[in-house]
Every structure is written in C-alpha cells, then in structure tokens.
C-alpha cells in the first residue's frame, strides 16, 4: 500500500483542524473570565460553569433528557429484541416489508415526525405530556435499537441454543439463560446508540416539548434563539464532555466502529 505524500498530509491537517474548530471554540469560550463572548487569553475561569447551577431550566432540562433517553431506549429494546429475533430467524411473508417499516423512521425527516406526533398527541389529548414525548422518542430510536440487535441475532451461533433445547430448556428459560446473554453486546450497544439519538434529538422534540418537558437540546436551542452568551457555551461544553466520556466508554467496551456502522444512516 502506498503512503500519503506531503500534499495529502497538509490536506488532512487542514481537514481535521476545520472539523474540530467549532467544537474547540465552544469549549474554549466556555472558560472565559469575561462577561461577554471571548476567547480566554490571560486566564481560565469556571464562572460560567458555576452559573449553570443558578439556571434551574438547564439543570431540569438535563434531567429530562437523561431520563427520556434512558427510558425511551429501554422501551424501544423491549419492542426491538423480539422483532429482531423474528426477522433474523424466520422467513415469513411480509418480512421485508416489516423490516422496512421498522427502519422507516430513519428516512422520514424529523420535522415531519415532530409535526405528525404533535398533531396526533394533541388530537388524543396527550399534547405536551411526558408520556407522549416518551412514545415519540421510542419510535424514533427504535431503528437504532433494532439494527444492532438484529446484527447480533443474525451473527449468533444457534447450535448453542439447540444444545440447550436438547437438554430440556425451552421458552422463557431458553431466552433468558442462552439467547439473551449471547446477543447482549448487541443489545447494550443498541441501547447506547438509541440513548445518544434520543439525548441529542432537537428537531422532533422541539415540536413536542412544553416548558415542563423541555429537553437539554431544546432548552439550548431556545436560549440561542434569544441570545448567545458564554452561559450557553459552558452548557454546550458540558454536553460535549459527557458525550466524549460516553464515546470513550463505548469504544473501550464495545468498539466504536461497530456502533458507528449502525449510525451510518440518517438520524436527524
């Protein structure tokens, strides 16, 4: 294999710098000691991070996002695991159509989903409720949960299951003691990817969130619409730090390349 020439390396350096620049700038501005947007030149200060605590909207929105993400990915898995097992193991009429339907939230623009859910939940009297938001998030993160579970179920060695069956295991025992442990890495990474999707979603959630159920991205977006000050950069820097930690953990325990392969389709 040929190696990269100097021109290629210059291109690569500029590319990486441009890719990181906006993220680095947000993190730097968050440490400014000044009262206005500026890059910290002489000293770093945590004053804007401390200030987050005195804005209960951000703190509350963070907990909403965390709970919503954890819960919706869990519920999505409850639906996705049986569906993935069915799609992976049986060839039945309409299987391809069902698989396409289950992955369709990836193809539908989130602004359309937001409108559809807003219309639907308002019509059935659940407008602005956390339950409605939760159901909407379950549908949107479902494809991610399904895809990674499906990959695990497809790659699974079924002879172990057959051995268990021959030893008399069946039904629930077979699933809990044999099948689930075997597909667990896929299930957990499916949960993690679904969580990140839910935690980051703005476009759909902005239609459904009300002051009590605002998620962190929605709160940040609405704040930015009014004005951009160092406070919102320190909130962003915190979100970036949390995501990075999750990324590193995910990479350690599962391998980020496998997770990102599941992310290679539109999600926003």
């Amino acid at each position: 294999m040929r190696t990269n020439g100097p021109l290629a390396l210059i291109f690569h350096t500029i590319f990486v710098v441009v890719m990181l620049a906006p993220i680095v700038v947000v993190c730097l501005v968050a440490f400014t000691p000044e009262g206005y947007l500026s890059l910290p030149t002489t000293s770093f200060s945590l004053r804007w991070f401390r200030k987050i605590a005195s804005y209960p909207e951000f703190v509350h929105a963070f907990w909403v996002s965390l709970g919503l993400g954890a819960l919706s990915s869990l519920v999505a898995l409850l639906f996705a695991v049986p569906a993935a097992l069915a799609i992976a193991r049986y060839s039945f009429r309409g299987r391809d159509a069902i698989a396409a339907l289950f992955l369709s939230p990836l193809m539908i623009p989130h602004v359309v989903l937001g409108i559809a859910f807003l219309r639907f939940f308002t019509a059935i009297g659940m407008g602005g409720s956390f339950a409605g938001l939760l159901i909407a998030h379950v549908v949107v993160v479902f494809p991610f949960a399904l895809r990674l579970t499906l990959a695990a179920a497809t790659g699974m060695d079924r002879s172990i299951e057959m051995a268990a069956v021959s030893l008399g295991a069946g039904g629930w025992t077979l699933f809990r003691r044999v099948t689930l442990p075997l597909i667990l890495p896929g299930v957990i990474s499916g949960w993690a990817l679904a969580f990140i999707q839910s935690f980051d979603d703005l476009t759909m959630t902005v239609f459904l969130a009300t002051p009590g159920t605002e998620t962190l991205p929605v709160r940040m977006f609405l704040y930015i619409q009014d004005n951009i000050d160092p406070l919102v950069t320190s909130v962003s820097a915190s979100v970036i730090a949390i995501t990075m930690t999750a990324l590193i953990l995910l990479d350690r325990f599962y391998g980020l390349d496998r997770v990102l392969a599941g992310k290679s389709d539109p999600g926003r």
């Binding site: 890719m19 620049a21 993220i23 992976a88 049986y90 623009p109 602004v111 940040m220 962003s236 290679s264």
Partner: protein, 302 residues
C-alpha cells in the same frame, strides 16, 4: 438508506427457518402495533391536516379544502423557499463529497494506530449535539470580527469581513461540517472493499498517481460517494437546527418554515402541507437516485 434495508434480510435468509408459522408474527406484533398506532396513523393524520382549513380566529376547521396546497403552488414565496432548501442541500452535498472522499482515501492509507485515532476524531462529532456544533460555527462567524473573518483577513485572502451569519454561505459551511462524517463514513465503507493490490498492479504497470486515482480508485469508491451523497442531501434538505441558528429568523428553509407555521403563526394546516411536500419530494429524490445508482453499479451491490 434503502440499501441497508435491502441487504439486511438477504444476509439473514441463510439462517432463517420456517418451522413455526405463528411465532414470527407473535414476536413482531408488539412493535408492529406500536408502529401502526403511533407512526402510520399520525402520518396519515398529518396528510389529512394539510387539506383542512384554518383562520386566525376560527382555528382549524376539519373540512376538505385545497387552500393550503394552492397557496404553496401559487405564492412565489414558497417556490423560493423550497428552491433555497434544495440549493443549500445540493451545495452541502457537493462540498462534503469534494472534501470527504479525499479525506476518507487519505485516512485509509494511514497506518493502524493513526487511522483509528483520526477516524474517531472525524466520526466522533456525529454523536455530539448538533446544537453545540452549530453554536461553534455561530461563534466562529460571529459578526464582522468573527474568528473566520479575522483569520481570512490576516492571510490577506479578503480585504473586508464577509457576512457569514444569516447568509446561505454560512448555512452551507456549517451544514457541510455537520454532515461531513456521514460522507467520510460512506466512502470509508466503500474503500474497505477495495483491493490495495489493484493499485499496486497499476503502479507496477507504470501508472502515475493521478491516473491511479482517476482510473482505479474513483470508479470503485463512486458507489460509496453516491450513497453518502443521498444521505447528506436528504438530511441537509430537512435540517432544522443549523439553518435556524445560522439563518436566523428571516432566511427560511422548509423545516424552519414548518416550525414557524406550527409554533408561531399557529397555521397548522399550512405547516403540515409544507412538511408533507418536503417528505414527498425527498422520498421521490431518494428512491429515484437509489434506483439509478443501483442500476448503474449493479455489480457492486450484488
């Protein structure tokens, strides 16, 4: 996107068995009910909503009327807005292809440790909040003495500050940054299927670098570039956060206009019509170009 839908069941077919006729239905039933109940029905309701009437004082009136669709068809404001939406999406797609494809190629030629490190650096932002990433661009552009302008002026490339905030240029740059990982990932996947020995063979036969890239590498990664382009295009055309933050309140695209109609003007039927039109246009474009690509590169997808 649909390529993934197509290939998944094909891989599985080998392991599938058909012992029990009812088991697969029992297993998929909960998810199926969820999807019909809270995806198919709400989408159908949205299509219906676009045919309802609306008035400032009477609110939504559930009658069948073509008013909203006629307004979109006749008022040049909407034509201009949709044209802007697709122009921005197209430019974003071109930029990501122009820079993302070479970068994926360069990454692929790096040695193991560096390769995985830079892959993480470039793909990692995919998982970082879009709001945070766009905020970064807003800070970089920020007014006339934003960092980008200062940098360009210190290089002597421009004499006076360029406007980036609240312009299409700014939107395209920020969107291209947000979408870049999708393109790199897509081309990267295509490169993994490329046999490095073919390049070496061409080299040994006396082909120059440029010839190798043009005649060997490019034709083989083209499917990757094109499927990346479809993903980037459809995501850019329906993007919300970046156009809303960089474009401000006046420069509207389809998603931000629909948002305005729903949450500011409260004209839900008109907003629904804009959203439905966006969905239909995107589905047609994506399905159409997928079919074209698969026919053109039939052997690659087999």
């Amino acid at each position: 996107m649909s390529a993934a839908v197509d290939t998944a069941p094909a891989n599985i077919a080998a392991t599938a068995d058909t012992r029990d006729g009812r088991a697969p239905w029992a297993l998929t039933a909960p998810a199926l009910m969820l999807f019909v109940g809270v995806l198919v029905i709400p989408l159908a309701m949205t299509v219906m909503l676009s045919f309802h009437d609306w008035g400032q004082y009477k609110g939504i009136e559930p009658i069948f009327i073509l008013k909203n669709w006629r307004e979109i068809a006749t008022d040049p404001y909407y034509a201009e807005m949709f044209w802007r939406t697709f122009r921005i999406a197209l430019l974003t797609t071109l930029i990501t292809a122009m820079f993302g494809a070479p970068e994926a190629y360069i990454l692929n030629r790096m040695s193991g440790r560096w390769k995985s490190f830079f892959l993480l650096v470039i793909l990692g932002p995919l998982l970082i909040s879009v709001v945070a990433r766009t905020l970064g661009w807003a800070l970089l552009f920020g007014g006339n003495n934003g960092l980008v302008n200062k940098f360009l002026m210190s290089l002597g490339l421009i004499g006076s500050p360029l406007p980036f905030m609240f312009t299409e240029t700014g939107m395209v740059i920020a969107l291209a940054h947000v979408m870049m990982p999708f393109m790199v990932l897509s081309v990267w996947t295509a490169l993994q299927r490329l046999d490095p020995q073919i390049e070496n063979a061409a080299l040994s036969l006396g082909a120059g670098s440029f010839t190798i890239i043009r005649r060997i590498v490019l034709p083989q990664i083209m499917p990757g570039v094109l499927s990346g382009a479809i993903i980037v295009f459809s995501l850019s055309a329906s993007a919300f956060a970046t156009p809303a933050i960089i474009g401000g309140r006046r420069l509207k695209v389809a998603a931000t206009l629909a948002y305005d109609e729903f949450l500011n003007t409260l004209d839900w039927p008109l907003g629904a019509a804009v959203a439905v039109l966006l969905l239909v246009a995107l589905v047609l474009i994506v399905v159409g170009s997928n079919a074209l690509i698969e026919r053109r590169y039939a052997e690659v997808f087999r």
